[in-house]
Symmetry: C2
C-alpha cells in the first residue's frame, strides 16, 4: 500500500518544531519529507537534508529541485523567491498569492475587509502624526504591529502615545521601502479563539472544532479544545469566518485564523497563519487526523482526513524554556512518572527563557479535569 | 523540556516496520533513534544510520558503540553477540537471558512449564520416530515447529505423519548442532488472544487490554481490541499469564504473549515475542500510550505511560502486498478519500504476495462497525 512506486517528497522550508512534528505522520502515510533547516542542530534536524538560508534564492531553488512540493515551517520566505519557483513549475503550497496575507499584516487586513470578514478597526500609518490621530479617535490607546516579521508577541506593542512607536518608524525610514505600521483598536475581549482549516488545491476543506487560546506575555500558553464558549452562535460565526478566509485567500494546507470573542459579542479576526499552528497541537492526540497529517495530505493533494475529536476534551499546554532547576532528564522522568496520561512532546531545543521547547497534551472527558492535568504536567518544567 | 542535555540514543537492530514505527514516538519524546538495517531501502531507512549484517559480531559491536542502549526490530541476533555486548557494559533490552526464550521455542516451552504457565502438550523431538510417537499419543496429528528462526507462519507445519517433517530433520542433521524440533498438540480453540505487557528494568509493568488476533494462512490478518470474549475469567487469566511470563522471564521492553482460548475453556500460551508486535499496532491510535512509545520508554528506563484505550473499540487490519491492480498511489488516494476516519500506515515496502506492507486502524464506539470500516479500508489494496 502507499506511495512506494512514485512516493511524494515534501520539502519543508524551516527546521523548527512544526517541521519536526510533520515527520511522524509522514512516516505513517508513506510520504517522504525533506527539510531545509536554518542551521545544524535544528528541531527538525533528523529530517534535514539541507541547511541554508531561506532568504537566498539559489539555496531555495536548489532545495526545490530535490522535492515534489514545497511547504513551510514559517512564513518568512521572501515572496519573490516563491514566485520564481512557481514560474519554474515548482508546486508551492500555500501558494505565494495566498501566503502574502500571512506575510504582511496590512495586506491581510485589506483582504479581510474585501472579503467582508469582521476585523478590529485598523489603519496603516506612515508616521507618528497618523498614528496619534488613530489613537485619539480610539480612546487614546491602540495596538501597533509591524506589518512583517512578527511572531509570538514580537512586533506587537500596546501604546497610548505615538511616540512609543518612534523606533519602529525610524527603522522603516532606514529600510528605505517607505513602509507603514498597522494600528488597531484595543479590543475588549472575553477570550481568544482559533479556527483551524485545511484546504486542498482542489478546494476540499476540513475544519477542526473551534478552540480557545490563552496567551501569556503575547505567547500562546494553553489551548482548550473545544472552546468552552456558551453561545453556539459564536462558534458558528468563528467557523464561518475560518472557511470564508480559507476560500477567500485560496490557501492550501493548514490555515489558522486567530480571533477575538469581543465583550460586545462580535467575533473579530486577529491574525492568520498559513501552516500548522500552536493552536492545533492538541490535534495530534485530540483529533482523528492531526493538523500535521492534514497539512501533508493537503499540500500533497491527497484526500483529507476526518477531524472529529477523539475525546470530549483536549488541552495543550506549552512548555517554555526557563532557568532549569535540576537536570532536565531528571525532571523529565519525574514528569513522565507523575503524569502517565499526559503526552509529552519535546522539540529537542536548548532551553532559553520564554522559548517554546515542548508541549504537553491531555485528552479526556472533562475539560476542567483535563486542563488541570495538562497544567500540572507542564509545570514540572517551570 | 526533554532530554536535550544528555539525550538517550536508542539503537535498534533491524530495519523493518517495527523499527520504522518507533521513530514517531522517539521524535515526540525527544529520544534519538538509530537503526542497524539489513539493507539500503529498508522500511526504517529514514532512521538507518548503519547498514550491515546483524549476525556479524564486529558490525553489531561497532553499532553499539554509537548508541546508549540496544533493542530490536526482530529476535534473530545471535545470543553470543548480545552476551558479548553485555560483558562490554552495553545496555541491551530485552537482555539476552530473557530474549533466548523468544529465540528458541523449546527453551520457551521449558521455561513456561517451570513458571507453571499453561501450554499445549508438547515435546522436543530429535527424529521421526519420536515425532510419530507424540502424534500417535495425540490423535495422530500435531503442530511441528522449528525451534529457531520462524515468523509469520514460517517454520510451523500441521502434520498427520512424521514423514511430513523429514526435510526439517534432515536440515537439523546437516546443521550439525543436533537440534530438535518442537511438536505440540493441535489445540481446538475458540479464538486466539494476545496480551501485550511492557516492563522496565526496574520491574515496573503496564499491560494493554487483551486483544483477539485473527490469522489467515498463519499470518496475522486482523486484531480486535478489546477481545470480544464473553467470559471475564478468560481475560483475567490471559492478563495473569501475560504478567507472569513478563516477570518470569525478566523481559524489558514490550512482550507479546500469544494465547489460545481453547474450546474447553483453558487459556494456553502459543508464542512469545519480545518487541513491539503486530497484535499491538492498534495501540498507535487506540491507546493513550502506544506499544512503540512504551517500548522506547521501557528500554530507556523511563517511566511507563498509561495504556487505557482511547475509544471503546479499535480494529487493525493488515495490508498484505499482492498483485496490484492499478497504480498504488491511485488506489491509496481512493482509500483515503473513501475512509476519512481510517488511519493508514505504510511500511514503504515493495509489494510482494503475502508481504505485510502496511496496516489500517479504525477506532470508535462499536466493535462490529469499527471492524467493518477497517476491513473495507484495507480491502482497497486487495
Amino acid at each position: 500500500m502507499g506511495l512506494e512506486n512514485g512516493s511524494i517528497t515534501i520539502g519543508v522550508i524551516g527546521g523548527g518544531q512544526l517541521a519536526r512534528m510533520m515527520v511522524p505522520p509522514a512516516i505513517h502515510l508513506g510520504l517522504r519529507i525533506s527539510v531545509l533547516a536554518e542551521a545544524e542542530g535544528s528541531s527538525a534536524a533528523r529530517a534535514a537534508d539541507a541547511v541554508g538560508d531561506y532568504r537566498d534564492a539559489a539555496t531555495v531553488h536548489a532545495f526545490a529541485d530535490t522535492v515534489d512540493v514545497i511547504t513551510f515551517d514559517h512564513e518568512h520566505v521572501p515572496s519573490f523567491i516563491l514566485r520564481e519557483l512557481e514560474e519554474r513549475g515548482v508546486q508551492v503550497h500555500p501558494r505565494p498569492d495566498a501566503l502574502q496575507y500571512a506575510q504582511d499584516k496590512i495586506l491581510m487586513r485589506e483582504k479581510l475587509e474585501e472579503l467582508g470578514v469582521p476585523v478590529p478597526d485598523w489603519a496603516a500609518v506612515a508616521d507618528e502624526a497618523e498614528l496619534q490621530s488613530f489613537l485619539d479617535a480610539h480612546g487614546g490607546r491602540g495596538v501597533v504591529k509591524t506589518a512583517r516579521g512578527g511572531y509570538d508577541g514580537k512586533g506587537v506593542r500596546v501604546v497610548s502615545s505615538a511616540v512609543e512607536a518612534q523606533d519602529w518608524f525610524t527603522a522603516l525610514d532606514e529600510d528605505g521601502h517607505g513602509g507603514r505600521l498597522l494600528v488597531e483598536e484595543l479590543v475588549d475581549f472575553t477570550r481568544e479563539l482559533s479556527q483551524l482549516v485545511a484546504r486542498r488545491p482542489s478546494g476540499e476543506m476540513r475544519t477542526w472544532p473551534v478552540v480557545e487560546t490563552i496567551q501569556r506575555d503575547g505567547v500562546c500558553a494553553e489551548v482548550l479544545a473545544p472552546a468552552p464558549v456558551q453561545n453556539p452562535a459564536t462558534l458558528e460565526e468563528a467557523a464561518r469566518i475560518g472557511t470564508a478566509v480559507a476560500e477567500g485567500v485560496g490557501v492550501t494546507g493548514v490555515l489558522a485564523v486567530e480571533m477575538f470573542e469581543a465583550a460586545d459579542g462580535r467575533v473579530l479576526v486577529n491574525e492568520l497563519a498559513m501552516r500548522p499552528h500552536n493552536s492545533g497541537h492538541f490535534s495530534i492526540e485530540g483529533s482523528v487526523t492531526s493538523q500535521f497529517e492534514q497539512h501533508l495530505r493537503a499540500v500533497a493533494d491527497l484526500p483529507l482526513g476526518d477531524t472529529t475529536m477523539t475525546a470530549p476534551a483536549a488541552v495543550m499546554v506549552n512548555v517554555l524554556g526557563g532557568p532549569a532547576e535540576g537536570p532536565m532528564p531528571v525532571r523529565y522522568a519525574e514528569a513522565l512518572a507523575a503524569h502517565p496520561r499526559a503526552k509529552f512532546h519535546s522539540y529537542d531545543k536548548q532551553p532559553r527563557p520564554g522559548r517554546k521547547v515542548g508541549h504537553v497534551t491531555v485528552t479526556g472527558d472533562d475539560l476542567a479535569e483535563v486542563r488541570a492535568q495538562a497544567v500540572a504536567a507542564a509545570a514540572v518544567f517551570d
